[in-house]
């Protein structure tokens, strides 16, 4: 039962083949059994089972929502009423959210059960889950490697079948890169598609929540629940939300796939390149055609991102000051000392690094050279995509330049770590939807992700393209050894 997809479980629940309580118990047991993966920061079986019981009652009365009784893991960046919500940080180690994020509210309404809060890089700053105050997460495909980040806990949990699906958030690749490294189907929606209310902000103009699943079909089902305008998020977009499950089977004959030459150059691991080429060949068999496109400003994405994201983060994280909630240093002599000690003790090294970079970039005298310049680059990067989409319907390429790397391998070299998001970051800068889907494995048996990039609000097409591939391939069905 634990290897079933959300769609399959929903069917089993509605046919009363299993109850939500049984299902929830099953996954809670697996979470406990595989706790060495460290995929969860907080589990609260009582709370989860109460939710499952309520879902069973609703199913019994025939008034169940689309996800009635489905257990889901929530990234610990989403506030959920009554749940400790840490964002992977010590500074929120004692914070119990008193309200629900909009997407949590939507999942609750749909009848989903919260299995627990998944581990993540501290404040979503990281690509390996190693910056979490609650310890790193192991990749189920090779426990000596990282699951990627920042949504590493969600990735490991779904890959190891500790949860049928999970939520993630993606500021520079945090859904797609861990999905690629753990063989998942992860979708970062267009900026504004999913409400950010209740999602703890890292970089407000880039952050976007989305589903991390095993199939495109499941991702469509979850996105149906998550997407939509929210009056409490001024950056959410008032565009109609289609039923994403309805267009999955659409024919992709004649689909124009754009391959940016910049995504296949130096820095790309040759085994990853081979897997991607094979996947493209598969698409050709499905009737798609390939065109070469160019994203000439791609190489500027990382420097641009590492000015803008830290700049916004330096301001977003100011509220963690020890005054109203969260961690406060024990001994301090005055207000300034309280601020300094609280933040010095409460934040980890990577978060501090980004706060300092961001503070510097916004400082008087440097603002024009860094922040303003980066904003200009951001527009150029978006224009590149705009031009590319004149000659293609979807852009494809690798999600990550390498497969999962060893724990500790890059943790002392921030720049090497930043480069693992080289293909994903520009998508956030442009605000476009992006996906990563399982496309094969390298010689070590580590998964490779294929990235699909669509134009604005073209999630339905991305899911359709992903689903057609999954109908003719079986990469996404593989289970990591030891978790069968």
């Amino acid at each position: 039962m634990f290897d079933k997809t959300v769609v399959e479980l929903a069917r089993a629940l509605s046919r009363r083949e299993i109850s939500s309580v049984e299902l929830t118990r099953l996954f809670l047991e697996r979470i406990n059994k595989y706790r060495d993966l460290n995929a969860f920061i907080t589990v609260d079986p009582e709370r989860s089972l109460a939710q499952a019981k309520a879902a069973d009652d609703r199913i019994g009365k025939g008034e169940a929502g689309v996800l009635a009784g489905i257990p889901l893991a929530q990234k610990d960046i989403f506030c959920a009423d009554g749940w400790r919500t840490t964002c992977g940080s010590k500074i929120l180690s004692n914070f119990v959210a008193p309200y629900d994020a909009t997407i949590i509210k939507k999942f609750n309404r749909a009848g989903a059960v919260c299995l627990g809060k998944t581990n993540m890089d501290e404040f979503a700053m990281g690509s390996s889950n190693e910056t979490s105050y609650y310890g790193g997460v192991k990749n189920p495909w090779d426990t000596a490697t990282v699951p990627g980040g920042s949504s590493g806990g969600s990735a490991a949990a779904v890959a190891a079948r500790l949860s049928p699906a999970a939520t993630g958030t993606d500021t520079g690749g945090s859904i797609r890169q861990p999905s690629a490294l753990t063989n998942l189907t992860g979708l970062k929606p267009s900026y504004g598609r999913v409400s950010r209310f209740g999602m703890i902000a890292f970089a407000s103009s880039l952050d976007q929540g989305g589903p991390m699943c095993r199939t495109a079909e499941d991702a469509a089902l979850l996105l149906n629940v998550m997407a939509g305008f929210d009056a409490r998020d001024s950056t959410s977009v008032e565009a109609p939300v289609p039923d994403y499950t309805q267009s999955l089977d659409g024919d992709i004959k004649g689909l124009r796939i754009g391959l940016p030459k910049e995504y296949f150059g130096e820095g790309l691991n040759s085994e990853v390149a081979k897997v991607i080429e094979t996947a493209i060949t598969e698409y050709k068999k499905l009737g798609a055609q390939v065109v070469e496109v160019s994203l000439p400003n791609s190489q500027l994405a990382i420097p641009c991102y590492y000015v803008l994201a830290p700049a916004e983060a330096s301001s977003n994280l100011s509220r963690f000051d020890g005054v109203r909630y969260g961690y406060r240093a024990k001994d301090y002599s005055d207000l300034l000392d309280m601020y300094c000690k609280t933040r010095a003790e409460g934040f980890g090294a990577e978060v501090k690094r980004r706060i300092m970079i961001g503070t510097y970039a916004l400082s008087a005298g440097y603002y024009d050279a860094y922040y303003l310049k980066a904003q200009k680059l951001r527009r150029l990067i978006a224009e590149d995509f705009h031009k590319a989409f004149e000659s293609c319907d979807v852009i494809m390429g690798p999600t990550s330049p390498t497969t999962a790397f060893k724990i500790g391998e890059k943790s002392d070299d921030p720049v090497a770590m930043y480069l693992s998001d080289i293909y994903t970051i520009s998508v956030n800068l442009a605000g476009l939807p992006g996906m990563s889907i399982p496309a094969g494995f390298d010689a070590k048996g580590l998964p490779v992700g294929l990235q699909l990039i669509g134009t604005y609000f073209d999630e339905a097409r991305l899911l359709n393209i992903a689903h057609r591939y999954q109908q003719v391939t079986e990469w996404h069905r593989r289970i990591p050894k030891g978790f069968e």
Binding site: F78, C79, T85, L92, S234, A311, S318, R324, L362, Y371
Partner: protein, 477 residues
């Protein structure tokens, strides 16, 4: 040396919206600490601001009233600094692109009109309050005020004296209250002022180094703080020193300004556009909609009062000091059909005397416009004299009812019956034969004595003109 003072003012006005600038919490003043602070106001992790459009309409109303440019696109920016009563660690404000720019306000400066430029007016949110009274050795934080919308109005450095600064402030205060966008309550902090003050040798074009005075929360303190600061700067410069650019705090107890932080210590607020809020875009429909709600403004009303009612500039100014005062005056004139000049005098002098004495606003006057009109009618038809009318007004103020009731109850109706007055005069003359003799011998000053006696005998109710006329006849030989 002759020094010239240069002053620019920054005024924070709390906008009278019902909910906060970026949350749905109430803006009502005086609630128990932290009972009007929602998740957004206390900056819980994950919350987001949603702009209250009503605040934009109020800012536009102000902009139109000062003939300013209304910017169709303005941008919210974050002003970053750490303080315990600033929950997010930044204040949402407007920086490079404010909602209103380039307006002007005309003030009375030494009897002449002077136009003061208004550089900009921008929207921002208020901070909470730190409560320094003892909380077991700690400081308390009240976030009820956090997120209350403010319009910060920045003047050009066009003011040349503390008197002008006060005149500008009063004019601005009158206007925002008139427009209904601010309650103007300075004690509760709804209208607060910072002053940039510098001096320069008369005739010099270049500005001197300025000091920014903070925390001046009454008209009187503005004047005193600026006066003190001017003296301090003159003393410094004439003593061979220099003025340093700094922020100074006014201490009203000691009547001094004290250095708070120097330019070197000035904070770098790291302004940048708030990524949680799209630019504020105003379409013509909104602006025109607001324009349609604009009624006659104080300056226009004053000019009309001068023209239409032949009032002098001073009286017209008093009568247009608030919309309620102006309405009161016009209602009295139309209901009493009294001479406007007389109505103006009774309101601006007599009624205002009572209002000031009891510290009451015209809206809370126990003498309504209809009651005042009733009194003026009795004055016009000679039921009472001007002197008696003052007594009637006092009685009305004291709650004895309208003019007719007071006149009736107190028997204050004027005696205009010639026969009755004749009788009193005859009686007085008979009792004062000695004075009559002296008067007839040429001591004309005694005429007043006889008038006084007659008025006394009639308890002031005899018509003074008739008394004069009849006495003159009877006293002549």
């Amino acid at each position: 040396m002759d020094w010239e003072t240069v002053i620019g003012l920054e005024v924070h006005t709390q906008l009278l919206t019902r909910s906060k600038a970026f949350s749905g919490a109430s803006t009502k003043y005086g609630a128990e600490p932290n009972t009007q602070a929602c998740a957004v106001d206390i900056a819980l992790p994950g919350v987001l601001p949603v702009f209250n459009q009503e605040a934009a309409r109020m800012a536009v109303k102000f902009g139109l009233a000062i003939g300013a440019q209304i910017n169709h696109r303005s941008v919210f920016a974050r002003k970053n600094y750490f303080y315990p009563d600033l929950p997010k660690g930044y204040q949402i404000s407007q920086y490079e692109l404010p909602i209103v720019s380039q307006g002007r306000l005309t003030i009375d400066a030494d009897g002449a009109e002077k136009v003061i430029g208004i550089t900009r007016a921008h929207l921002e949110e208020d901070a909470g309050k730190s409560l320094h009274e003892d909380f077991r050795g700690m400081t308390g934080i009240d976030l009820n005020r956090a997120g209350t919308p403010l319009l910060e109005i920045v003047s050009e450095p066009d003011l040349r004296s503390s008197k002008e600064a006060v005149a500008y402030l009063k004019k601005l205060h009158q206007l925002v209250v008139w427009l209904g966008i601010c309650d103007g309550n300075m004690q509760e902090g709804s209208f607060r002022c910072d002053a940039n003050v510098s001096i320069r040798p008369k005739g010099q074009a270049k500005f001197g180094t300025r000091a920014e005075l903070k925390n001046i929360n009454s008209f009187r303190f503005v004047e005193k703080a600026i006066e003190y600061e001017i003296e301090r700067q003159i003393d410094l410069l004439e003593g061979g020193g220099t003025v340093v650019q700094e922020t100074r705090l006014y201490d009203s107890d000691q009547d001094v300004t004290r250095s708070m932080r120097s330019k070197e210590e000035a904070m770098d607020y790291r302004y940048f556009p708030d990524p949680d809020l799209p630019p504020l875009v105003l379409d013509d429909a909104l602006i025109e909609g607001v324009r349609a709600t604009l009624t006659e403004l104080p300056d226009a009303k004053r000019v009309r009062f001068m023209r239409e009612y032949s009032l002098n500039r001073y009286d017209a100014g008093v009568l247009t000091s608030s919309r309620e005062m102006a309405d009161y005056f016009e209602k009295v004139v139309s209901e009493s059909r009294a001479e406007p000049k007389i109505a103006a005098n009774w309101i601006a002098v007599e009624l205002s005397g009572f209002l000031n004495r009891d510290n009451k606003d015209i809206t809370h006057s126990p003498v309504t416009a209809t009651m005042m009109a009733g009194l003026l009618k009795r004055l016009a038809d000679n039921t009472v004299s001007g002197k008696i009318a003052k007594d009637v007004l006092a009685a009305m103020w004291g709650g004895e009812g309208d003019a007719d009731t007071v006149i009736d109850k107190r028997g204050l109706k004027q005696i205009t019956d010639t026969g009755a007055i004749d009788k009193v005069i005859d009686d007085i003359i008979a009792k004062n034969s000695k004075q009559l003799e002296q008067y007839r011998a040429g001591k004309e000053a005694l005429f007043g004595y006889f008038v006084g006696q007659v008025m006394k005998a009639t308890q002031g109710k005899a018509n003074p003109a008739q008394v004069n006329e009849l006495l003159r006849k009877k006293l002549s030989p």
